[in-house]
């Protein structure tokens, strides 16, 4: 087991390293940030001086090493347009994204798990049919359009909820959170349902039923506890999915989170912010994947030795 963990961890680190290089390269290719900082009519010396100041005159590998060394010590550089440390900017925006993700995640589990269990217990029933229909639609609907439709219905038409922004309480959170959660709910539901069906078919559940254990107890205590395992590992990936999807949903709802920060930074060609956020998201994703893999390997020895 420990060999497997070490092997997978090394892979993760290599992946992360390559990701960091690629991120660094792509961002460097995206145009000259100095041109945005120095006015057009400025003399050439100013331009050169700015290049030196940002250390853009060094060889690209040197720039990478400088950047990496800073990143490893927690210094994510300084935003070229806002003249503030990137770390500060991210920390400033992060709570907004976190709030959104947390609520969306809670929404996903609160809706997805019970419906999935119920659908499995009453296979072929009306709710099962509805749940599967919902899952099918959930997978076919793009995030951004779902958000817009929610705005049309609940903000414009019914006037119940605000359409955009963040100032003023939980009301502002509901639409974006539901929009982010929409797709994962479908996933959790399907996974819970199929996992429950599998468990409900097993011998020990049959035994419990034969012994006359109450159906709700069989469902929730005997079956659900085991069926929930794949769903739990899956939820690690859901969080990653949500954080990634935040770029789109934060754009739709003008939500001032990290996703919007990075999109704005891309438009302004603000290299350090883009680098930092992409690297952050990638690290997050790779770590989550590593954890899922290790959990699976722990649960299933077959994977460990393959």
């Amino acid at each position: 087991m420990s060999r497997y963990i070490i092997k997978r961890s090394i892979h993760a680190v290599i992946t992360l390293f390559v990701v960091s290089i690629v991120v660094f390269m792509i961002v460097r290719l995206s145009g000259d940030p100095v041109l945005l900082l120095v006015p057009d009519e400025a003399p050439a010396e100013d331009y050169e001086e700015m290049r030196k100041l940002l250390r853009l005159d060094e060889h690209i590998t040197v720039q990478y090493v400088i950047w990496m060394r800073q990143v490893l010590t927690g210094d994510l550089g300084e935003s070229t347009t806002q003249r503030l440390p990137v770390a500060t900017l991210i920390i400033e925006r992060f709570p907004a994204t976190l709030q959104l993700t947390a609520l969306a995640f809670a929404f996903t589990l609160l809706i997805g798990l019970p419906i999935g269990v119920y659908a499995a217990a009453h296979r072929g029933g009306a709710l099962d049919f509805l749940a599967r229909g919902f899952a099918v639609f959930g997978q076919a609907t793009p995030n951004f359009w779902m958000g817009i439709v929610f705005i049309m219905i609940f903000a414009v038409w019914l006037g119940w909820l605000p359409a955009a922004g963040r100032e003023g309480g939980i009301k502002f959170l509901i639409l974006p959170a539901v929009t982010i959660g929409w797709f994962p709910v479908a996933g959790v539901m399907r996974l819970t349902r199929s996992s429950m069906l599998e468990v409900l078919n097993s011998e020990y559940v049959k035994l419990a039923r034969v012994k006359g254990v109450r159906e709700s107890l069989v469902l929730w205590k005997h079956a659900f506890k085991n069926a929930a395992l794949p769903v739990l590992t899956y939820s690690a990936l859901i969080i990653v999915f949500m954080v990634r999807g935040s770029v789109i949903v934060e754009t739709v709802f003008a939500w001032p989170g990290v996703g919007r920060l990075v999109l704005e930074a891309v438009y302004n060609r603000d290299f350090p912010i883009v680098q930092a956020v992409v690297l952050l998201f990638a690290t997050f994703f790779i770590t989550a994947n590593l954890m899922v893999d290790i959990t699976y390997a722990y649960l299933n020895p077959k994977i460990r030795y393959s």
């Binding site: 892979h11 990701v19 792509i26 995206s30 793009p142 951004f144 817009i148 770029v247 754009t251 992409v278």
Partner: protein
């Protein structure tokens, strides 16, 4: 002699697919029962509808010029913000003055946008973009993915390790973010959208194909082919490739919908297909500022996306169930 086991498997699948398609209520075999238990049969009749829809979408894509009632890019400000045909004009009061909002007409069935461009025509031409993008992406991604997947699975060892590490890396990128960054580096264009999206999809295909190739490689007919003196290339092309084909078909069909959503998302964010080209995502984003007054601009192209993706997913599910019941985890 050649490839007997694999051939049998393929024939079996073909036979099963054929027998199902011409006689709808057939005797359930034990295999079908197994599928029904895990997946709930509802698919006997269904492929007719999605296939018709896909055919229709492809028809629209090819004949967009003839089918669409207007030029999707020509603006006509006198028609600005015309609602769909069933909406009647309303009297609204703006700054103390009574004004009548334009009424819908059959001239613009689904209404017009701010520039007076016909929404229906834009959606129809958007179909062309969606079909072309997903077609090209899957052609590129599948070609690369299958080649590398087969090589990786067949040879194992070093090449396998390198290719799979590459796959890991490509799958570790946050796709949307990288795509956004890319689109800013290289001006958004039709070609760049295809390149960016393909860069992510080949990895998914390669991983699946590799697993399949690994299993096939261990079967007797491959060993026999090798004993008979077939070269590596010949084994891969003649023996492994035909046998991974069903898997590839399933993956590809299931990917179409996600490619469409990916392209639409990029275009929505303004880093995909550049406006004024009527990608569905572009049209949805153009309606974003008019949600209060002109809901139809964003609503209808989004519906087009949902219909297209839903259709492809249904078809993908069906192909998967028909070709390979073992792959239902996909």
């Amino acid at each position: 002699m050649q490839n007997r086991l694999g051939l049998n498997r393929l024939l079996l699948r073909k036979a099963r697919a054929a027998s199902v398609s011409d006689a709808a209520p057939m005797q359930p075999t034990p295999l079908d029962d197994a599928i029904a238990v895990s997946h709930k049969r509802k698919l006997h009749l269904i492929p007719i509808i999605p296939m018709a829809v896909v055919g229709f979408l492809i028809f629209l894509a090819i004949f967009a010029n003839f089918v669409s009632p207007h030029d999707p890019k020509r603006s006509n400000l006198t028609d600005s913000l015309t609602p769909p045909f069933w909406v009647e004009g309303k009297v609204i009061t703006i700054a103390g003055q009574d004004r009548v909002t334009p009424a819908g007409s059959m001239d613009h069935v689904l209404g017009t946008d701010l520039h007076g461009r016909d929404i229906l025509s834009r959606i129809i031409h958007g179909t062309r973009i969606a079909v072309l993008v997903s077609g090209f992406v899957l052609l590129i991604a599948t070609t690369i993915g299958v080649t590398l997947g087969v090589v990786s699975g067949y040879f194992g060892g070093k090449p396998d390790a390198i290719i799979m590490r590459m796959v890991d890396i490509f799958l570790a990128f946050p796709p949307l973010l990288i795509a956004i960054v890319f689109s800013v580096v290289y001006e958004p264009s039709f070609r760049n959208v295809i390149i960016v999206i393909s860069a992510f999809y080949w990895a998914i295909t390669a991983r699946q194909v590799r697993a399949e190739a690994l299993a096939i490689k261990q079967q007797d007919f491959v060993t026999l082919a090798r004993v008979a003196g077939a070269s590596n290339l010949r084994i891969m092309v003649k023996h492994i490739l035909p046998n991974v084909f069903p898997t590839v078909l399933v993956i590809t069909t299931l990917q179409v919908g996600t490619v469409i959503i990916f392209e639409a998302s990029l275009s929505f964010l303004g880093v995909g297909i550049p406006p004024p080209n009527p990608s569905w995502g572009v049209v949805v984003s153009e309606g974003r500022d008019q949600l209060q007054t002109a809901w139809w601009i964003s609503l209808f192209p989004g519906m087009a996306i949902v219909i297209a993706v839903l259709t492809m997913n249904t078809l993908g599910d069906w192909v998967r169930d028909r070709l390979d019941p073992m792959m239902q985890h996909l």
